[in-house]
């Protein structure tokens, strides 16, 4: 099956980045798309010279679901439920990016309570996403304890999301106009209770990993990427910051009131997998800071814009008020029309720059939606990052890029 002609056939039929002709000592090894360490359905065709990776070609598209085409056929409020499912470890972030873009087109601002709530929810999502990144990265290198601990912590965050929206992951809670419904009254205490114990748990992970000889051996110096390389390959997020570039869209082009919060942009200089791990761990602490500040200033008030043409009227009003009933009907059937125009408004997702480019033709369905996803852009740098590494290094390199295949393929 793996005859010389078999290899040539594979090479012709697939999309190789470089015109690589297997010499006598080079073997083409396929990793994935079904593989426990590729973080999803990612196929890597490795050109190996013994243990050394001479080249790697990522083949993606195994999770391509046609989100962008589907958006064109759904009304804006229907699109919200789709947004959760692309980067499925950052559902509220996806919701937020979409909501911000649509609100820009609508020319509206959400009420202050919704603004602050959005920041809290986005940062809670960031924390649980980084917990998964660290946990699954450790699991890939056989540190099952850390994975279990991280997912145990994550359960508490999923409980918070369930408290708010009834859903653990695909909440669709942040919508154009504000939130889906108001935060429950016990929300602040529940969140503070979760965050209270988290720094000690993170210290546990540091005890298990940060000076662990096996972890250091497999992560330090692996997948080194300089700042220049990151920038020219369009890499954003923790990978970029691990190379010393202090770029964070929450600071640089703030949205949602982020300019009012006091937090640091975590960077490291080494640009290797170990640096990326430390960046994510420290970013969790910064997110905790932001959530605590936001909870302290969470104002009372409406959670959604006061415009029944955009947001559903309260349930009670529908029974009492004819206008509210009509608005509800029109919203549920026709949806709201968004003025014609285009916008691209990226946010800082746990993986980097996430932005929705929306073209509206004035109707209640988007004309074109393109999602600029960080995992797609970051994964492109994989060959440049991994060339010359050993085969075993592929695992931490992928783990440290932290791609989500739903984000890559859409």
């Amino acid at each position: 099956m793996a005859s010389a002609s078999g290899c040539a056939e594979v090479e012709i039929r697939m999309a190789v980045e470089t015109r690589f002709l297997p010499e006598e000592e080079t073997m083409l090894l396929n990793m994935g798309p079904q593989h426990p360490a590729t973080h999803g359905v990612l196929r890597l065709v490795l050109a190996l010279d013994g243990e050394v990776v001479k080249d790697v070609t990522p083949v993606i598209g195994y999770l391509h679901s046609g989100f962008e085409k589907t958006y064109e056929n759904k009304r804006y409020q229907q699109c919200v439920t789709l947004t959760d499912r692309m980067d499925y470890l950052n559902p509220l972030g996806n919701n937020l990016a979409f909501a911000l873009a649509v609100e820009k087109l609508l020319g509206i601002e959400v009420p202050p309570r919704a603004q602050v709530a959005r920041v809290i929810l986005a940062e809670l999502t960031r924390i649980q996403s980084h917990l998964v990144a660290v946990g699954s990265g450790a699991l890939d290198l056989n540190g099952t304890t850390v994975m279990m601990f991280a997912f145990r912590e994550r359960e508490e965050f999923l409980d918070i999301f369930e408290l708010c929206s009834g859903q653990r992951m695909m909440t669709s809670f942040i919508r154009p106009g504000g939130l889906a419904k108001d935060l429950p009254p016990e929300f602040p205490e529940r969140v503070l209770a979760v965050l209270e114990g988290l720094p000690d748990r993170l210290a546990d992970y540091h005890r298990l990993l940060t000076r662990n000889p096996i972890w250091l051996d497999r992560m330090v110096g692996v997948g080194k990427f300089t700042a220049e390389q990151c920038i020219e390959w369009g890499v954003t997020g923790p990978v970029l910051r691990s190379a010393g570039v202090p770029r964070d869209l929450r600071k640089d082009t703030p949205y949602c009131g982020y300019e009012n919060y006091d937090f640091n942009v975590i960077t490291r200089e080494e640009g290797d997998c170990y640096a990326r791990y430390l960046v994510r761990m420290d970013e969790i602490l910064e997110s905790i800071k932001i959530v605590k500040q936001a909870l302290a200033r969470l104002p009372e008030g409406p959670y959604v814009v006061d415009d029944y043409k955009l947001a559903f009227p309260p349930r009670q009003a529908i029974s009492d008020n004819m206008e509210a009933l009509i608005h509800h009907f029109k919203l549920a059937t026709e949806g709201y029309r968004v003025p014609a125009g285009e916008v691209y408004l990226p946010i800082e997702s746990p993986r980097g720059e996430l932005g929705f480019y929306i073209v509206s033709d004035g109707s209640s369905r988007p004309y074109r939606v393109h999602v600029r996803t960080p995992s797609f852009a970051n994964l492109q740098s994989l060959p440049a990052m991994a060339r010359g590494s050993m085969l075993a290094d592929m695992v931490p390199i992928i783990a440290a890029i932290d791609p989500i295949l739903g984000d890559v393929d859409r």
């Binding site: 470089t18 962008e68 916008v343 691209y344 480019y357 797609f376």
Partner: protein, 181 residues
């Protein structure tokens, strides 16, 4: 506001008549409408100019079929300058009859996969791209899914458990007897 954008002057100085028009998006970012022959020049000027638009957010296509204005396609380039912390967009109108645009991989290696995706979804070819192959769809796909004349759900079903798929006579039945589900 768009007219006084320094990026406009910079690009205009670099490519002259290649700059067809200047618009603005709803976030207040400038959109430079650039003729396809000048796209490399415009990108290089913006990347190396004073503001240093070193970050290419992405390249994607739009199909204006049905909107009835001008050329059918456009390729949108979104750039970000960390120095001045702002974005600029470039739009290249592309005719349906000749959907080719010069590639900008030499300006930003990051353009590689974005151009491949635009080709995959719209059928717009990028001249000079080192490996313009499909990236999301299977390699043997013979349609461009994001074109407006391609319907949602237009992809043929490859495998089905429908016992007697009358309209798919040659599809393999996955281990099913006739009439069983």
């Amino acid at each position: 506001m768009a007219g006084s954008d320094p990026a406009v002057a910079l690009v205009s100085a670099s490519i002259g008549d290649g700059l067809l028009a200047v618009e603005e998006d709803r976030a207040g970012n400038t959109i430079l409408i650039v003729e396809r022959g000048s796209i490399r020049g415009a990108c290089q000027a913006l990347r190396d100019g004073e503001e240093k638009f070193v970050h290419l957010s992405g390249i994607w296509g739009v199909d204006y079929l049905g909107m009835g204005l001008g050329p059918r396609f456009a390729v949108v380039y979104h750039l970000y300058s960390p120095t001045s912390r702002r974005r600029v967009a470039i739009k290249v109108p592309v005719e349906e009859s000749d959907p080719v645009v010069p590639s900008v991989v030499e300006v930003w290696p990051a353009a590689g996969w974005h151009e491949r995706e635009t080709f995959d979804m719209f059928g717009i070819r990028f001249e000079g791209h080192p490996n313009l192959a499909r990236i999301l769809m299977p390699e043997d796909t013979d349609f461009y899914p994001l074109r407006k004349d391609f319907p949602l759900g237009g992809e043929e079903v490859q495998f089905t458990h429908t016992p007697e798929p009358a309209h798919l006579p040659h599809r393999p039945k996955i281990g099913l007897e006739k009439g069983k589900t």
